[in-house]
Amino acid sequence: MTTIAMGEMEQLRKEADNLKDQITAARKAMQDTTLQEAAASINVVGRVQLKTRKTLRGHLAKIYAMHWSTDSKLCVSASQDGKLIVWDSITTNKVNAIPLKSSWVMTCAYAPSGNLVACGGLDNMCSIYNLKGKDGNVKVMRELAAHTGYLSCCRFLSDSEIITSSGDCTCVLWDIETGTQKTIFAGHQGDCMSLAVSPDFKFFISGACDFTAKLWDIREGTCRQTFGGHESDINAIGFFPNGNAVITGSDDASCKLYDLRADQELITYQDSSIMCGVTSLAPSLSGRLLLAGYDDFNVNIWDTLKAERVGVLAGHDNRVSCIGVSSDGMACCTGSWDSFLKIWN
């Protein structure tokens, strides 16, 4: 590097360090208490005991992802047997069994309208399927290709827009109609593993292998906040139901709650007896419970305000890879490498 260039690099490095210190100090200045202290006067919720009400059988290999439809009845799952299955969770019937071009699928999503589903994985593409085609056959409607890494997660904003996260360290907002990228969200320094859209559809959060979570403004295309603290890859991420906080799950065996307005971590959900990574998470309707899936085949249920474990869902014979709570909050669905989905309440 030229001397001038080295000088500028050194200057930029110093300014970056100063700014990071400023952010740390500004966050500390807001710490007039902790969530633990603030919640000291409320009691831990009573033991939560959920039972398996349905087992959805049909996949022939590991299930990697599931997503509820907004009707709280149908759900879609993706398995490396190369199929997307749309289930009626109440009858356990398979509404659609969609064969995929690529069996290396890692994510799936249901559009809020119920008209479309999407999936993707090691093919680096997000494929959109129309469930309500005229002749009754489910066909590929669009293949969104531009990512240079695997598709780790996707979530619909509507029938015309979808957001994807990728192993290429970026997230993308797509126009489904034209199949083009509307906005590229760059900034993570590691594979993006998971994303979640805010309840008002204005923001989304991403968790990555750089151990951070980022909050993005969808329309501005900018990163508003970055949250650190985890000591390993963030595999799962979700919004607290009021949209003001974010929950992350990591390979460091912990989940963390970050408040967006205080711009910092408020509490960590961990236990010395839990030594395996968190794969997936979903809050209950009120946000008081956090259901988190782990590599040790279990789901732990946490009291989000007290950070105490209040229940366990044990029933899978392999890693729990995905979890979701239905929109009406009536049931939780878990998907596993044991090839089954279970509905619990």
Partner: protein
């Protein structure tokens, strides 16, 4: 990539990082006490409507198998 291009990229990245950090540093922040209170209030307000938290009658459970019935 030539050494010059590589260095130019590093500087661009460093500039972008500084700009991003400036944006993040300048944001308004709320006290943890208020943020915590809001979270706790939300949980309390919505507790009774949270089926997994408070439970609900078996007859209202769409996932519970109904008892078999005979057609007379």
């Amino acid at each position: 990539m030539s050494s010059k291009t590589h260095n130019a990229n590093s500087i661009l990245l460093a500039r972008r990082t500084v700009l991003q950090l400036r944006t993040e540093a300048s944001r308004e922040r709320m006290k943890v006490s208020k943020a915590s209170a809001d979270l706790m209030n939300y949980c309390t307000e919505h507790a009774m409507a949270d089926p997994l938290l408070v439970g609900f009658p078996t007859s209202d459970n769409p996932f519970k198998d109904k008892k078999p019935c005979t057609i007379l």
